[in-house]
């Protein structure tokens, strides 16, 4: 069986590169799907032929549809309502935090400026969500 997949919803190429670097650096070799805006993310995740990822790392400031909108639509869809979603973004604006949790985010992590701290955060996320955490059973409807 293929190792569980991670979906990274991120429009900034620099952040994408740094995130991939941090994942690799921490030895997380799972397949990674990059989705560059909200609409693309929804299209991919809603498509029945696509396998659901083990974890979604979701940025908030995205072109076309922003992260919170993506989150809402995912939670409204029975297929993705239990999907583990971690908001990984620059801001810790209060309204983002509140809205994120209200819409059913599983976690909210702010990207530190210091790359070493960022790398550490990615490591801990991988450890927690890919290893420690038991994923919800896949619903076959």
């Amino acid at each position: 069986m293929k190792s569980p997949m991670i979906a990274l919803v991120e429009d900034n190429a620099d952040d994408e590169a740094l995130t991939l670097r941090a994942l690799k650096k921490n030895g997380i070799a799972n397949e990674i799907v990059i989705l560059r805006d909200g609409a693309e993310a929804l299209r991919f995740l809603m498509a029945p032929e696509n396998q659901l990822p083990q974890l979604v790392l979701l940025d908030l400031k995205l072109p076309r549809k922003d992260g919170l909108e993506v989150l809402r639509e995912l939670r409204e869809n029975p297929r993705t309502e239990l999907l583990p979603i971690v908001i990984l973004t620059s801001s810790k604006e209060e309204r983002d935090l509140i809205e994120g949790y209200r819409l059913g985010a599983n976690s909210y992590v702010r990207k530190p400026v210091d790359f070493n701290q960022f790398s550490e955060a990615v490591r801990q996320l991988g450890l927690y969500w890919l290893v420690l955490n038991e994923r919800p059973p896949i619903q076959t409807s």
């Binding site: 620099d14 952040d15 908030l60 801001s91 604006e93 209060e94 400026v113 790359f115």
Partner: protein, 605 residues
């Protein structure tokens, strides 16, 4: 409405006539009563005098009648035939004839009793008795002198006797016989006349002065009430419960007394008639007077009521109707003055209303202006919000790239760079991180100003305790003593106060870094103006000369190399304290201590 109804009964219109009515009535009745009393007194004393006079007159009539009877008897006693019979006992028939002359004058029975020695004789003829006997013990004695007897009753009839002594024929001889004539009582014309003269339903009675037998001259009656003395009037209640006035007068020459009484009511009737005659006009005068006053007071109260109604209309803010009272008196003046005042009140109110309208317009303008500004402010605030949101997201992303790729170069191309290249890239990374910190602090500062305050009870002690425990746990190598005064509470926004305390305690933590033994205190004390909170540390302190620069954004009193920081923390604290209506100030000594004091207005209030 209720007050109006109350006012009706306390109104002058009713009170004044009522007062006059009462006054006239009381004066009239008092006068009538006094007149009645004085007339009654006069009538009573006059009646008493009349009673006495009539009583005396009556007594005289009875005395004369009695004397006449006695004289008649005496004359018969002196008759020669009688004398002869008494002296000798001879010719009794002649004596009987003489006696019969007396019987013819209305006497019921005549008796001649002789006490003499010799043969006893007894002759009865009709109602005449002749008797001659030596006398015996127990028989009637010869009276000492001629007399009229007391009244006696026999067979329901009242009668009296006259007794005349008959002397013997010898000169100077002692009386040896008595001539007794017994008579009933009859009403004389004189008595009837007197009764009529006295009037007033007068009653006459005759009786023994000692009071045993009394008669109204036709039959026996009860004894009259006893008077205090002869000739004194007595007032009493008769069997019918009527007041009567009576008097008893002794009858001269007899053991009798005559009693005369009449009805007091009849006597006083003129006084009562007078009372009624006086009361009627009094009542009339009273009613007429009260009516006159009622009309007069209506003439006063009607216009007053108009004035009062008009004043009421003004009092509730309306327009008073103009008063039309064509009068020259005080009420006319009052109405004029009132009209003038009402006009002025109306003018004043109109000008006031005009001013109010003007002010309202001005206020409306000001309100619209304020609204425009509020809208503008809201727009600005929203823009600021969007701006800081954007800053928070977008400004940090490039910094992450700078830092991240610098690190990537260091890791991937490390060997080619040499020590200087390493040094440069490290500086770039440090600068990027510092800028990230600056952005965070600036965002915090602007958030402190933007967020809405929600005041509630905040346990500052628990907050400080938690923060200090967190700091101590972050570096267990340090020897830190912290003293938190328990139960320091305040009304305030918990999140903002948390930010303020965090900044102050982190500062204290930071500037005591080099102390062997760190002491950080939090507490509150009372000064003249209210509660003052403080955070005290025994750290690097500061020079009081620069104390005014402590709270400006980006102002730092220490070099970054010594104590890293952005210089925004205390500015943030000051803004929070100011938003709570408080004040912050500091005291310090370089190398010794620093104390930050602040107040929150809720306590000062």
């Amino acid at each position: 409405m209720e007050s109006a109804r109350l006012a009706r009964f306390s109104s002058l219109r009713w009170r004044l006539p009522l007062l006059i009515l009462t006054l006239l009535l009381s004066i009239g009745t008092t006068y009538a009563w006094m007149a009645y009393r004085s007339m009654e007194g006069a009538l009573r004393s006059g009646g008493g005098a009349r009673l006495n006079d009539a009583g005396a007159e009556l007594a005289d009539i009875f005395a004369q009648a009695a004397a006449t009877r006695l004289t008649e008897s005496r004359r018969v006693a002196d008759d020669p035939a009688i004398r002869r019979f008494v002296s000798t006992g001879e010719a009794p028939d002649a004596a009987v004839d003489a006696l019969k002359t007396l019987a013819g004058r209305g006497n019921a029975s005549i008796a001649l009793r002789v006490r003499a020695a010799g043969p006893e004789q007894r002759i009865e003829s009709g109602n005449v008795l002749l008797e001659r006997s030596p006398g015996s013990p127990g028989a009637d004695p010869i009276p000492a002198h001629d007399m009229v007897s007391e009244l006696h009753v026999r067979d329901g009839r009242v009668f009296f006797r006259t007794q005349a002594r008959v002397p013997s024929s010898q000169p100077g001889g002692e009386a040896i016989a008595v001539l007794t004539a017994e008579r009933g009582l009859t009403q004389s014309a004189g008595m009837t006349l007197i009764q009529r003269l006295v009037g007033h339903d007068a009653h006459i009675r005759l009786g023994n002065a000692r009071g045993d037998v009394w008669t109204d001259l036709s039959s026996r009656t009860e004894a009259p009430p006893r008077s205090a003395g002869p000739g004194e009037t007595v007032s009493y209640l008769d069997a019918q419960g009527q007041n009567r006035l009576g008097v008893a007068v002794p009858v001269r020459g007899t053991p009798w007394a005559v009693w005369l009484d009449f009805s007091e009511a009849a006597l006083l009737a003129p006084a009562q008639a007078l009372l009624w005659k006086m009361l009627l006009p009094t009542l009339l005068v009273t009613i007429v007077g009260a009516l006159a006053v009622a009309i007069a007071s209506k003439r006063i109260t009607d216009p007053l009521e108009q004035v009062a109604n008009a004043a009421d209309a003004i009092a509730v803010g309306g327009d008073a109707p103009r008063l039309h009272l064509e009068r020259k008196d005080e009420i006319g003046r009052l109405a004029n003055a009132f009209n003038e005042m009402a006009a002025r009140v109306r003018d004043a109110r109109e000008s006031l209303e005009a001013r109010v309208r003007e002010r309202t317009r001005e206020l409306e303008g000001a309100r619209e202006e304020l609204q425009r500004r509020a809208v503008h402010l809201t727009t600005v605030n929203r823009e600021l919000e969007a701006f800081s949101y954007s800053v928070s997201h977008d400004l940090r992303a490039p910094l992450r790239s700078i830092d991240g790729f610098s690190q990537a170069i260091l890791e991937d191309c490390g060997p080619q760079l040499g020590p200087e290249g390493h040094e440069h890239l490290t500086r770039i990374r440090r600068a990027a991180q510092r800028m990230g910190q600056l952005i965070d602090d600036l965002l915090n500062l602007s958030r402190v100003s933007r967020t809405e305050m929600q005041r509630q009870d905040v346990d500052l002690s628990a907050m400080a305790q938690g923060l200090l425990e967190g700091l101590a746990a972050s570096d267990t190598s340090r020897n830190v003593e912290y003293r938190v005064q328990p139960e320091v509470r305040s009304m305030g926004d918990p999140r903002l106060l948390m930010v303020a305390l965090t900044n102050l305690l982190e500062n204290a933590w930071k500037f005591t870094r080099d102390r062997q033994h760190t002491v950080i205190e939090f507490g509150a004390q009372q000064n003249g103006h209210g509660r003052v909170y403080f955070v005290r540390d025994n750290g690097a302190g500061f020079d009081m000369a620069y104390a005014n620069k402590l709270f400006g954004a980006f102002q730092r009193l220490h070099h970054s190399a010594d104590f890293p920081g952005t210089g925004i923390g205390l500015a943030t604290v000051q803004r929070i304290v100011t938003r709570h209506g408080g004040r912050i100030w500091a005291d310090g000594q370089p190398g010794q201590y620093a104390i930050f004091y602040f107040t929150l207005d809720s306590e000062a209030a």
